[in-house]
Symmetry: D2
Subunit: 481 residues, 4 copies
C-alpha cells in the first residue's frame, strides 16, 4: 500500500497511543473527540482527493525512489512542474476544506531535509542523507502524515538558546547514548500534531557554536515515549460540542494546533538527521521556511471559499447587483489571485539543489508569504462588509429550531423570498467561521505568523535581493561614474 | 433622583418583565444570565462613571429643561461644547469597558427627535415636540437607558416597504385606535436592547407616500405587552459559561444584540412622535444617523485598550524594543488618533438646529464613520502581528490549572522571566477577545455595519459635498471661462 | 495701514533689493520674473482675500496688541476659535490658489516665538519677549510676509551641529559684537523666501550645550546685507517661459522654494530672540513644527481643486455617471475630508500657553501631518485614474494653435460634443500640474517633507502618547493585578 | 540580416519619411530631435542587448518560421518558456533604460494576430493567417520595430462607433477598392510611434454588426501616405533642450507618445488581417490586451531603477542605516517583487492556442496589470519619502556650474563628506525624473492607463473567474443542499 484511503488513514490513527490533553484533561481518542475530529477529517481529505481521478495529476506523483505512484504530500520535488503542482494542490485543498489541512509541514520538512542532509554529508562525510532516504522510502510506502516541528517556545526573545534562563526553551540534546540520543524541550503551535503518524523535529533559528546542543534534527513516531500534546483552544471551539451543526459555519472540517512536549525522549541514531552541525541549522530553517511560505498557497483556496460565501450571501440578501457589491467581489478576487501569482511564481522560478531536489525561489516565496500576512485580513473585511451586520447578531440554530422562536426567525430573517431562511443563516455562519471563528485562526492569525512572522519575511527579502544590480542601473542612467 | 448609581440601575432592571429568548429558551433573569450580565455591567459603567468627580465634566450635563445635573446620556446637546464632550465620553467609556456600552443609541434617538418633532410641528401644527419634551423630562428624571431602534429586517432589499412580500418586514401601523395605535414588525441588531428601560422606534429609510403606514416613531417601555427579544449569538459567547474567567479575555464587560419583535403592540398617543408624516422619515434617519456615526467615538476608546494590550504583550514577549514593533505601535496610535480627529471635528463643526438642539456636521460625521469601517480592522491586524501566533494556539485556562498540564504551560509559555506566565496568557486572551472573540463583534463587524453600512456613508458623503465650489475653483485656475 | 492690498503688496516688494539667483544667473526683478511671479501672485491672494467681505471672519483678526483689524497671517492666536479659523484660512487659500501660498511659515514662526521667548525670559530673566512684542507690533502694522526659516542643510545626518566637518552646515553665530551678532550658514527649502519682507531664523533641532552657538533665533529684512537666494527648480518650471498659458495647467499661481545663504550677516540685538539658550531650541522646534503641521490644512484646499478638476474631466469625458468614477470621486472626497478633520481637531483641542498664545494639540497636529504625507498621493493616483491617459499624451497648446495641426487636435480630442476641446485640454493640464508638474512639488513632495518628514511626526506621535493609561485600561479588563 | 544592431536600427529610421509635428511645427528628423532622440535610444537598446551574449537567452529566440535566430520582439511565443522569457526581457529592459522602451506593443500585436487570424480563417475560410504569416516572416527578417495601434480617440464614451457624432472617432474603412481599402481615423497615445518601421492597426473594443466598418486590422509602413504624427508633451520634456544633462535625471533614455492620424490611407489587401468580421474584434482586443498587460513586466525593471536610486540617495544622505529607511526599502522591494510574481505567473500559467501560439493566462495577466496601476504610485511615494525634500528644491545644474553660485551649491548640498555633491544631485534628479518628470509619465500614468485603464482590468477579472466553483465549495462546507 503506497496510498491510503481516507478511511484507512482514520483507522491508522486509532492504532496510535498519543498522550493528548485538552481543557486540562486527557483525551482518550483524538479521532472521536468532537473538537479534534474535524481537523482529522481535513487531513483525511488529503488522502481522499488523491484517489479522485480528476485530481490525480495534482494530488499524486511518482516516487523518484520506488517509482510508485504516491501521494504528493510524501513526494520530493523533482522538477519545476512538481513545485507548481504543490501550489495548486494547496489551493485545491484549501478550497475543499475551508481550513488548514495540516499536512504540508511534513512535506516541507521532508523536502528541506532531502537538501540539507545531502549538504551536511558533503561537508562532513556523514551519512545523514542515506538515513534520510531510508526514512523517506518508508514514509512514502506508509503514506504518513508527518508533523514538521520547528517552532520552539523561545523564552526570552533577547537571548540565544544557550543563554536562556530555562535551557529547555529551545529543544536540545540532553544525553548521548550508544544507540541514540535523548532530547528535551517543546515545539509550539504544532499544526495538526495529533493527526500525524510521525513528527520531524528541526531547529528553529540559525545557530552558533555555543548553541550546538540545540542543532538537532530527527524523526519519531508521534506516540513515542515521552511526547505529550496539549491542544490550543480556538475562537468558537466549543461550538463543536453543541447539538446542531449550523453554528459551526464549516460543518465538515477544522484545524488544530498543539504544544508538543518532549520530556526526555529517546531517538535512535537511524532517525537522527542533524547532530550538532550548528552551521547547517540556519540553512535548514531557511529552506524549510521557503517551502513552507510557498505552502500558504492554501490560503488562496480558503479565500476561494470566502469569496464564494460572500457572493452567495450577496445573492441571498438581494444585493448582488449593486455596483459597490460587485466591485468588492472583484477586489476580493483580485487580492486572492495576486496571492495565487505569488505561490505560482516562486515555484515557477525554482531551481535544482545539489541533492536533486527542486527548491522554490527564496525571494518570491517570502514575498508571497508577506502578502499572505496582509490580504486575507482585507478579504475578511470585505466579506464582512458584503455579509451585513446579521453575521454577528444572528440568533443560534436552537432559536431556529425552538417552537417558541422559530416563527420569528423564519419570518424576519427571510430576505430573498426564493431563498430559505436557513440557507441564509448557513452562509452567514460560514463567513463568521472564516473571519471570527475557528477558521479565522487559520485564515488570519496563522496567515500572519505561520511559517514565520512578517518581520521574518522582511529580513529574508532584504537578504535575498541584489541591491547592487539595482544601484548600478540607477547610477548609470543618471550619470554617476 | 436624576442620576442613578450603577447599583440602582441594576436593581431597576430587575423590576422589568422582559420576554427574552436565547438558545431557543426563555431567559428568566437577564441581569443574572451569565452571557447577558457582562453587557449589563457595561451599561452600568455609564452610570458609575457619572458619579466619579474626575469625569463629572464629561459624563454629566445640566438639563435645559429642569436645570438639574443629569447623566449626559439623557442630555439634549445645547452647544458645540456638548457635542465635543459627547465624543470624549464615548472614548472614555470605550476605554473603560473595552466593548460596546450600548447606551448611545438612546441618546442619539432623543436628540434626533428633539429636532425632527419640532420640524414636523412647524409644518403641520402638530404637537409632537410638546409630547416629546414631556417624555424627555421623564427620561432625564428617571435616568433611563433607552434602546433607539431603527433597523428593520428589510426583507427583499430591492423593494420599498409597501411592496414587500411580507408587509411586516418593515415595522408599521396596523391599527389606529382612539387612544393610540397598534404596530407590528421587528427591529434587528438592537444593541443593548434587554438592558434598556425603554425603546424608541424610528423608521429606517426615507419614504414616499405609499409607505406612509411605515412612517412612524414612538416610545415604549421595554417590557410592553407584545414585545419580545431574541438574543443574537456572538463569537466565543459560551466562554462566559465556563468556570474560569481568563479565557473570556475581557473579564468584566461585553455587549449584546437582539432581534426585537413587535407583535401587535399598542402605543398610546402621548408616546407617538411621528405618524405617517412620511416626508420626515428621511430627515429623522439622516439626523439620527449622523449623531450615531459620531457615536463611533467609542471605538477610539476600544482602540486604546487594544493598543494598551499590544504594548503590554510586546513587553511580556521581550520584543517591545524591536524597531518594527515600535513602529507598529505608532501606526496603531496614528490610526486610532485619526479616528479621534473625525469624531472631534464633526462635533467642533456642529451647528444649531431650529429647535435649539446642536447637530453634528453631517459630512464629517459620515467621513468619521467611514474610517471606522476601515481602521479597526488594520489595528486588529497589527495587534495580531505584535501578539504573536500564541494568541490562537494558547491552551485553555483549565490546562493552566490542571495538575497534569500546569507544569508544561508554566514552563513553556514563560517568556520574560520577570512576567508571570499567567499575565502573558491574560493579555493574549484580551487581544483574542478584541480581534476574534465577543468584543470583535463590536470592534470590527459593528464598526462596519452599525449606524449604517459603509455604502450608506458614501452616499451621504456624496450628498453633503459642495462639488460646484470645487469645480469653480478648478476651472478658474486652469482658465475655463 | 495695517492691511495691505494685493497691489500694495506687489509694490512693496519692488522696494526690496534681494540678491536672487536662478539658472546660474542673477534675477533682476523677482516680481517680474515669469517663473517667480506666479508665486508672488499666490502670496498676493493672502492680501486680496482679506479685503473680501465674505472672507473677513476667516482672513482677518483683531490684534491683541493694537486692537486693530489685521490680516490673520500676522495674528497671534488668542483662542481656540482663532486656531480653527487658521485651519479654515489654509483650506480657503489652498482652494483659491491651487498651490502653496507660502505665508503660513511666518505666521507659525511668530506664534511659536510668542510662546518660547516668554518661556526663556521666565527662566533667565531675559527680555526676549519684549523685543519680540515690539517686532510683532511692527509686523502687524506693516502687514509683512515673513519667511520662517528653520531647515538647515544638516550635512552629515549622523553628526550633531558642532561635529559637522563643515561647521556652517547648521546656521550659527560666528561673532558677537556690542551692537549685535554675526551669523553664518544657510536655510534650505525656504518656501516663498523671495516674496517675503522679512526672514525669521530658528534652529532646526533640539540641541545640547556643545551646540550652543547654533541655538539662535532672530529676524532680519529679507534684503539684509549678506543674504542671498538660490531658487530651486521645479518639475515643468520652464513652461512659464513659454508663450501660451494653457500648458502651465494653473494659469495664475505657483510656488517656489529657495536656498537662503547667510554669508556673515549682522543682526542687531533688538532682533535677536534666542541666543545660546540651547535647551529652548527643541521647544521652539516642536512648537513651530506643531503649528506648521496644522498649516497643512492648505492641502485640503488644494485637494478641493484636484477633486473639482477630476469631476470636471469626468464630465468632459462623458464618464461621470459610471459607478466606478462616482465611487472614486467619493473616495477622493472622503480622504480629503479626513485630512480636514485632522486640522480642525488639532485646533479644536488646542490650549493656552503661559504667554497667552493658544497652541494646537501636539499629538493631533502630528497625526494630521502624517496623513498629509499619505493621502494626497492617493488622491493624485485617483485623479490620474479618472483623467485618463490623455493627461500625459496631450500635445502642446502650440499644436492646438498651429494651422498645420489645429484641425486634428480639435477633431480627435473632442469627447462630449457640448464641451470645447480646449476646455478638456485646460483641465487635463491642471491635473498634470497638480500631480506631476509645478504644483505637484507642493501637493506631493512638500506634503511629504514640509514641516518635517514623516518619521519626524512618528517620533512626536510616540512621545505625545499616554501609553500608561492605555495599558492600565487593558490590564484591568483582562485581570492583571 | 535577421537581427539589426542599435546602429543599424538608427540608420534604418533615417530612411523613413515620417510626417511628425511637435509644438505646432514639423519635425525634420525625429532621430536627431533632442526631445525625441532619447526615446529612439531606448528602442535601440532592444537591438543592442540582443547582441550581448549574457542576454542571448532572454533577448533572442529561434523563429518557428525561418528557424533563424531572431530578436525576441519579433517572435511568436512557442512555449510557456517563451512567455516567461518575455516577462524577464521586459524587466531587463525596464532596468536598463529606466523608461518605456516602446517595442512590446508590436510584439503583442503580432502574437495576438497570429491567434485571431487563424481563428477567423477557421470560421470563414478566409486567408488572413497566410497573409499574416508572410508579413511576419518579413517582420522577423527585417527585425522591425512595430507600433501596435489600438486606442481610438473614442469621442463620446457613451456611444458605440457607428453612433458617434463624428464617425471618424473610431478608425474605419471609408472605401473598398479592388486593390485594397481606404481607412480614416486616428489612434491616440501611440507609444514609440515615430520610432517604428511599421504600424499594425487593430480595433479598440468589441463590436456588433452595426459597427462592422470599424472592425478592421491591417499593417502599414509608418511613413505611408496620409499618416501623420503629433507628439504629446510630457512633464519636463523641454529639459532635453537645455544645455546640461543633469537636470534630465535620466541622461540616456526616454519615451514618447503620439497621436497618429490616418487621413484617408490606402491599405493593399495583402496587409489586411481583419475586414468587417466584427465578432472577432472583441477577441483580438482581449488577446492583445492580455499580452500587453503582461508586458507591464517592464515596470518591475523601472521599479528596480527607482529602488536602486532610493538606496543610493539614502546612502548619500547618510540615512541608509536608519531602521525606518531600511524598512521602506524593503517595502519597495516587496511591492516590486509582488508585481514580478504577477508577470511570471500569468506566463507560467499560459496555454497553447489552436494556431500554435502560446497565450498568457487572461485572469492573471489582468490581475498583474491591476497591481501595476497601484504599486508604482506607492513605490514613488516611498522613494520621495527616502529622497528628502531636496528632490524638489534643488537648484539647476546651471547653478552648480555658475561661478556666482557654485560655491554655495557645493558647500550646502554636501551631505556625506565622501560623496561629491554632484553625485547627490544626479540621483535626486533621477528620482524626480521617475516620480514627477518625463519617466513618471511612463512609470505612473502609463502604468495606470496603458493596456487599458484599471476598470477595464476589473471587468476582465470578473469575466475570467469561475465563481460557481467558489460558491459550490462554500455551500458544501456550510451545509447548503
Amino acid at each position: 500500500m503506497t496510498m491510503m484511503t481516507a478511511e484507512q488513514y482514520e483507522e491508522s490513527l486509532r492504532h496510535l497511543n498519543l498522550k493528548i490533553y485538552m481543557f486540562g484533561r486527557r483525551v482518550e481518542s483524538a479521532v472521536d473527540d468532537p473538537i479534534i475530529r474535524p481537523s482529522m477529517k481535513a487531513v483525511a481529505e488529503t488522502y481522499a482527493l488523491a484517489h479522485r481521478p480528476e485530481y490525480e495529476d495534482i494530488m499524486t506523483a511518482t516516487s523518484h525512489i520506488s517509482g510508485k505512484k504516491i501521494n504528493r504530500f510524501t513526494h520530493i520535488h523533482q522538477s519545476i512542474d512538481d513545485l507548481v503542482k504543490k501550489s495548486k494542490m494547496g489551493r485545491l485543498l484549501g478550497r475543499s476544506t475551508g481550513c488548514c489541512f495540516q499536512r504540508c509541514v511534513g512535506m516541507d520538512a521532508l523536502n528541506a531535509l532531502s537538501i540539507v542532509t545531502f549538504n551536511i554529508d558533503k561537508k562532513y562525510g556523514t551519512d545523514y542523507y542515506k538515513r534520510f532516504q531510508a526514512y523517506l522510502e518508508h514514509a512514502q510506502e506508509k503514506d504518513w502524515t508527518i508533523d514538521g516541528a520547528m517552532t520552539d517556545p523561545k523564552g526570552d526573545r533577547r537571548l540565544p538558546p544557550h543563554k536562556q534562563p530555562d535551557p529547555d526553551h529551545f529543544l536540545r540534546v540532553v544525553e548521548e547514548r550508544k544507540d541514540g540520543i535523548v532530547v528535551r524541550g517543546a515545539k509550539a503551535h504544532q499544526t495538526g500534531a495529533v493527526n500525524s503518524h510521525e513528527v520531524i523535529v528541526m531547529p528553529t533559528i540559525a545557530m552558533r557554536e555555543e548553541d550546538r546542543d540545540y542543532a538537532v534534527s530527527f524523526a519519531l513516531p508521534s506516540d513515542a515515549e515521552g511526547i505529550l500534546y496539549i491542544i490550543g483552544r480556538q475562537s468558537c471551539d466549543t461550538r463543536k460540542l453543541e447539538k446542531g451543526l449550523m453554528d459551526r459555519g464549516n460543518l465538515l472540517f477544522g484545524g488544530h494546533e498543539a504544544l508538543v512536549v518532549f520530556d526526555n525522549v529517546f531517538v535512535p541514531w537511524d532517525r537522527v538527521f542533524m547532530y550538532k552541525e550548528f552551521e547547517f541549522a540556519g540553512q535548514l530553517v531557511e529552506i524549510f521556511a521557503s517551502y513552507h511560505r510557498q505552502s500558504y498557497a492554501c490560503k488562496v483556496g480558503v479565500g476561494d471559499v470566502l469569496i464564494g460565501a460572500a457572493q452567495t450571501i450577496a445573492e441571498y440578501n438581494g444585493a448582488d447587483k449593486a455596483s459597490h457589491i460587485r466591485d468588492k467581489i472583484i477586489e476580493m478576487n483580485h487580492l486572492n489571485e495576486t496571492l495565487y501569482c505569488g505561490c505560482i511564481a516562486c515555484a515557477s522560478e525554482g531551481h535544482r539543489e545539489p541533492s536533486g531536489t527542486y527548491a522554490v525561489n527564496t525571494l518570491l516565496a517570502n514575498v508571497h508569504k508577506q502578502n499572505v500576512t496582509r490580504f486575507p485580513y482585507e478579504l475578511s473585511r470585505l466579506a464582512q462588509d458584503i455579509a451585513g451586520g446579521l453575521m454577528v447578531t444572528l440568533p443560534s440554530e436552537e432559536d431556529l429550531r425552538s417552537p417558541e422562536t422559530a416563527q420569528w426567525i423564519e419570518k424576519y430573517y427571510k430576505a430573498d423570498p426564493e431563498v430559505p431562511t436557513e440557507h441564509r443563516m448557513h452562509v452567514l455562519r460560514l463567513i463568521e467561521n472564516l473571519t471570527l471563528g475557528t477558521a479565522a485562526v487559520g485564515y488570519l492569525t496563522e496567515s500572519m505568523h505561520g511559517a514565520g512572522s512578517p518581520q521574518a519575511q522582511r529580513i529574508m527579502i532584504a537578504r535575498s535581493l541584489n541591491m547592487q544590480e539595482k544601484q548600478r542601473a540607477a547610477k548609470k542612467l543618471c550619470g554617476i561614474e
